[in-house]
Amino acid sequence: MSGDALLSIELSDVGKHFGRFQVLDHIHLRFPAGRLSALLGPSGSGKTTLLRLIAGLESPDQGVIRFAGEDVSHLHVSRRQVGFVFQHYALFKHMTVFDNVAYGLKIKPWRERPSKPVIRKRVMALLELVQLAWAAKHLPAQLSGGQRQRIALARALAVEPRVLLLDEPFGALDAQVRAQLRAWLKQLHREIAVTTLFVTHDQEEALEISDHIVIMNQGRIEQSGSPQQVYDQPANPFVCTFLGQAHQISAHLRQGVIYCGDQVVGTAAPGLSHEGAVRVYIRPHDIEVLPPDDTRSALTATLEQIAMIGPYVRLALRLHATQALIPADMTQARFAALHIAADNTVQLVIRKPHVFV
């Protein structure tokens, strides 16, 4: 979209509090240029505040925010050239869709303001881009939530922002529209390639469309990296349980081998030299259930419950070693092939145990 070189966003030692409440605590972050990054966290984790600080809608109590190396910490929001999309669209209700999108161009000082035909052309091109050219003369109230959010995005793009910031952009939409818009945003980002940050509390959304994920909790960064990285190598129990399901069992580590009671769960990652008690987190689909006569595993459990959940089967397993109850997921076909029933004893192989000291 804009001809400028792509721009990274850096935050160093950024802090913010409202009253006595520390919303952001010494944040150091770098968002890669041209990428679609997700700010993921539970509500109250400070992610929206962080986005508003980058936009200039709030000012940090301390620290520096840089766009491509340039310090913008004290640059007024109207000069920062950010596109901001709000959860509840924030369209100008009294203006038509066309006027909403044209707004940022019309209010430019006359020296920089494009001529009317140019504005018209650019607005119509953007409305084409968001597939809403037919709605140019409508008022926002006449459009659905998903359509309004696309208009809000077109309006933000009209001024050729240096970065695009989206605050829970699909949070107010129903599940089906959400899924469509996600795929569409991913596609759009590929076309315009402007550095984009979006806030979400939906792990699936973040994993699905982003190139880079920052996970926040209580005003701190828990981990940042590629979706694959944060999912496969969670830095701590919070990240592990926040990104998808994971259940904790207590275990201990002896010479790189994980034991649950006296049964072997698996081996820890090579770097971990800890000896003694550890917490092991296991995702339901990382458990391979074997028939009782299989001898590949030493970890045994009793199958207590079987639940059919759509395309897959969820088993509730009682570990013999600790009496902990953990779930395991598998396909219907796999379950049928096992020939097991409730109260059977089964053997378990944990494909990827996440071990934390």
Partner: protein, 277 residues
């Protein structure tokens, strides 16, 4: 469940319902409609010619003029004040915000007569500031200036009180969106805030104007009732009445009543437009 609840709230007893409607309508007729009609009936009781001559009497005309002048100053002043106060209260956090909010309500809480007496005490010749003003040959009380001042005081909360809840409900996201698109504060106010609040603002202005033109108590205290000089329409009605000039009193009263009806009409229109947003 909902159906049941509604049934209980409005019992299906035709007599109870009729009694309620009857008493409501009767009260409205006796207390509101009849007196209003009486004003016009009395004003016109001696014919149109007499009515016209009463209305065009120099003292009446002067009272009209003064009433319009007071409103013409008080309304713009309080519109500006109201918008500024509502903007400050709903858009910013600052020390003394609570105090400002309470202060705005003072003119509502105080009886207008007390407001008049306050001004008299402060600016009268024996008052705290009055002596100093007297020494500098400025007479505020018993003058047009005093009438304008108390009118401004009494009508100051209307616009602010109307805008504050409305702007709180609107939130500030649209304004923030405008700022991120490169607009400065003034452009944002002009293109985004004002069009959004316009009907609530007009509604507040109409209420403010109605009160400014109808204010009696505070104005009565500070005006000194100087004939043909410091009489507003409400004061003139009272004075004509005291002079047994019944037709004159009702003629002036009918003007005020007409203004009130016009206000009511405008108010209804503005309210409908505001609630549509």
């Amino acid at each position: 469940m909902v159906h049941n609840a509604r049934h209980q709230a409005c019992p299906d007893n035709p007599w109870g319902r009729r009694l309620l409607i009857f008493s409501g309508v009767t009260l409205a007729l006796v207390l509101i409609v009849a007196p209003l009609l009486a004003v016009f009936a009395q004003a016109l009781s001696r014919g149109w010619a007499m009515y016209i001559s009463n209305v065009t009497h120099p003292e009446t005309l002067h009272a009209i003029q003064l009433t319009l002048l007071a409103a013409a100053i008080a309304v713009p002043v309080n519109t500006a004040f109201g918008v500024a106060a509502a903007w400050a209260i709903t858009r910013f956090e600052f020390r003394g915000k609570r105090i400002l909010q309470t202060a705005i309500d003072i003119p509502f809480a105080i009886s207008p007569v007390v407001a008049g007496v306050m001004y008299l005490l402060l600016y009268g010749t024996s008052g705290w500031l009055g002596q100093w003003l007297y020494d500098h040959n400025v007479q505020l009380v018993f003058s047009v200036a005093a009438i304008v001042m108390v009118t401004v005081f009494v009508t100051s909360p209307f616009v602010a009180r109307e805008l504050i809840p409305f702007m709180q409900a609107q939130g500030r996201e649209e304004e923030e969106a405008s700022l991120t698109l490169g607009a400065n504060g003034w452009q944002t106010f002009w293109h985004v805030t004002l069009p959004t609040i316009q009907w609530a603002l007009i509604y507040g202005v109409i209420l403010c104007n109605a009160r400014a033109m109808g204010e009696f108590g505070a104005v009565a205290v500070v005006s000194g009732n100087i004939r043909g000089e410091t009489n507003t329409l409400p004061l003139y009605v009272q004075q004509s009445f005291d002079d047994y000039n019944i037709a004159g009193a009702f003629a002036a009263a009918s003007l005020l009543a007409s203004l009130a009806l016009l206000t009511l009409l405008l108010k209804t229109i503005a309210q409908a437009r505001r609630d549509r947003l």
